[in-house]
Amino acid sequence: MTPAQLDIQLIAAVTAAACALPGVFLVLRRVSLMSDAISHAILPGLVLAFFVTENLASPLLIVAAAATGVLTVVLIEALSRTERVKEDAAIGIVFPILFSVGVILIARFASGVHLDVDAVLLGELAFAPFNRFEVGGVDLGPQALWVMGPILVLNLVFLAVFFKELKLSTFDAGLAAALGFAPGALHYALMTLVSVTAVGAFDAVGSILVVALMIAPPATAYLLTDRLTTMLGLSAGIGVLSAIAGYWTANLFDTSIAGAMATMAGVAFALTFAFAPERGLVAQAQRRRSQRRTFAEKMLTVHLLHHENTPQEERECRVPHLQEHLRWSPDFARLAVDAAVRDGYVLRDADRLSLTEPGRAWAQESMVD
């Protein structure tokens, strides 16, 4: 592994972790698409700040872009507060307009300078290691790391300081307001954090893929746990893993690193969606199957109990009869009988079925339920 490769992975991992942390709250508060809106709408702020400083590395760019991000949130909320436009439509109108303003500004006044829309939308991680941060001729590592590192720390500090406020206002906004936690202020603080993170990250991965890093790892973690702290840790972990897996995939196929990172985040979600221990599709199917089987066993034992020691016993308590009486297919009847025999509820003698003592007790219990 060359030092440049190491640098890229380090930047990718730090970016992914920094995005995943505020992303957890976006997903839980159902404002995921604010990240989409903010990451696009910061463009005009970035462009205007660039016109003032004429330096793409100026920290003023981050401040201006973050301010534009907050402005976006304010505009969206103002628009939906008029009650003339639903909130999702307001998002769908505000951010494309702001983004358009940015694109037009670039096209009219900044063509020829190094600031193009491709770079903003798509980012390019492969060149990041060559942009060094130097103080007095001493190389202190890639610049992107010096941007994303502090942003990651900022996010961590914010989460640590306001953890209980965030938790409460996320899960019970009403109680948070009643206790005087100013959920509005907290919301804007969170949005500011999202804006700052998006600005820092778009340079590396582009504005659309910021959304992937903010939403996909927390959504994946949301399928794996019910605890907020675990979810935060898992999100960051999944983000970092997706980033590194994405880097090597891109390396293998000689393609966009940011795109591959997003793809890997998607793959991680798809795998979890299918195989998560409790909420995955497979687990859901298994649970349904076992519930169906248990229910069938109950039906069977109750049926046997009902006809035990009656004149019809000979006729009713036979496997082929289940088809007729319970409308079970032969396959399903065999499955249910086998399960009941295995569980020791039923004895089988050729086609003739009879209850065991535990089977009788279970059937009686089932009927009481």
């Binding site: 998002i91 358009s100 196929f253 393609t255």
Partner: protein, 375 residues
């Protein structure tokens, strides 16, 4: 300008193309906005990217129809993915949208970049799908756009009442035995078609605005679905053609963003000046109500005083007395002035007022109504 529009091939093609796109996405966007799916369009348009790249990789062709079919398939799969994730897990709708949007787009980027880095492919022009390039539209694109558009709108008209039910009372539709889920998928498919029509012109990022903005603007002018759709189509065409023409005749003004700004202006104008729902109309209404209430308050107080003099209903009363009778003494004078304007009260001497006959009758009517309401 008109001359150019009629005789300049490029300008005419671009303006027609953008107008077609505006009409189709404006009408179908109406459903998206009404059903609270405004951002589904954003997800679909981003999700279409891998389809474009794959269609090119598999066929080696850049024919608009091939790429559009690829885009539509990918957009459609993306939508189904959103629906599946929402139905089969606890991931909220917006998170599912955001995830499909960005992950599909990322995958599309992976494909696109690897196509571009392959020395064999002639891949130029694929990235117009990212930002759109209306100036590159040619007549054959126009034919594809118009055919798909007519098809989509035709189906929408055919299923008019079913889609109306879907948008406004889903459960009632289901209770009538209509296959609501299949209708939902059909309508979404139409939305996908509207979006892929626009991708080449305005690009994936801005496509959603062309879908949402005309419909959101049209919503302000009417409460009827048919009318809303017509207005949205008109706004869409206006923004599309206007933006395309302005950008084609101005140097360094990209088409997609210009169209979006046009559409944005239409939203702002509609929000402010629509007759019923408009903010200006609402403000005027509120002001008029305030004035009316103030007038009625003073009128009632004057009537109460007049009843103290059964023999002389036109007995004058000082303003100061009226001011002691209300919680808003500062508005008494203005109220008297507007009553005088309507001929319900008149000043008598120094700071004294009395009801006119018409005012007495009006106040008596109000008092009677109040008593009736209280009963």
């Amino acid at each position: 300008m008109l001359h150019d529009l009629l005789f300049d091939y490029t300008l005419r093609t671009v303006a027609l193309g953008a107008a077609t796109l505006g009409i189709v996405s404006g009408s179908l966007g109406t459903y998206a906005v009404l059903r609270g799916q405004s951002l589904l369009g954003d997800a679909i348009s981003h999700a279409a990217l891998p389809g474009v790249a794959l269609a090119f990789m598999l066929t080696g062709s850049k024919a608009p129809l091939v790429l559009v079919i690829g885009a539509a398939l990918a957009g459609w799969i993306g939508t189904l993915a959103v629906m599946t994730v929402v139905r089969r897990s606890r991931i909220p709708y917006d998170a599912a949208l955001g995830m499909v949007l960005s992950v599909f787009f990322g995958f599309g980027l992976v494909l696109l970049v690897s196509v571009q880095r392959h020395p064999t492919g002639n891949q130029a022009g694929l990235d117009t799908f990212l930002f759109g390039q209306a100036a590159a539209l040619v007549a054959s694109d126009l034919v594809v756009m118009a055919t798909l558009g007519v098809l989509a709108l035709g189906v929408a008209l055919l299923f008019w009442k079913e889609f109306k039910l879907l948008a406004f009372d889903d459960e009632f539709g289901a209770s009538l035995g209509l296959p609501m889920r299949r209708l939902d998928i059909l309508l979404t498919t139409l939305l996908v078609i509207a979006i892929v029509i626009g991708l080449q012109t305005v690009g994936v990022v801005l496509m959603s605005a062309i879908l949402v903005a005309p419909a959101a603007a049209a919503r302000q002018w009417t409460d009827r679905l048919g009318l809303m759709m017509g207005i949205a189509a008109f706004f869409g065409a206006l923004a599309g053609a206007g933006g395309a023409i302005l950008s084609a005749t101005t140097a360094r003004l990209p088409t997609g963003p210009t169209i979006v700004i046009f559409a944005g202006v239409l939203v702002v104008v509609s929000l402010l000046f629509a007759p019923q729902r408009g903010l200006v109309a609402a403000w005027l209404r509120a002001r008029r109500n305030r004035t009316n209430l103030r007038e009625i308050g003073v009128l009632e107080d004057l009537y109460t005083l007049a009843l103290q003099h059964p023999t002389d209903p036109r007995h004058p009363h000082p303003v100061a007395t009226l001011e002691t009778m209300t919680a808003h003494p500062e508005s008494v004078k203005a109220g008297l002035a507007s009553l005088a304007e309507r001929g319900f009260a008149e000043p008598i001497g120094e700071a004294q007022w009395s009801l006119t006959d018409a005012g007495f009758a009006a106040a008596a009517a109000i008092a009677r109504n109040t008593r009736l309401e209280e009963r």
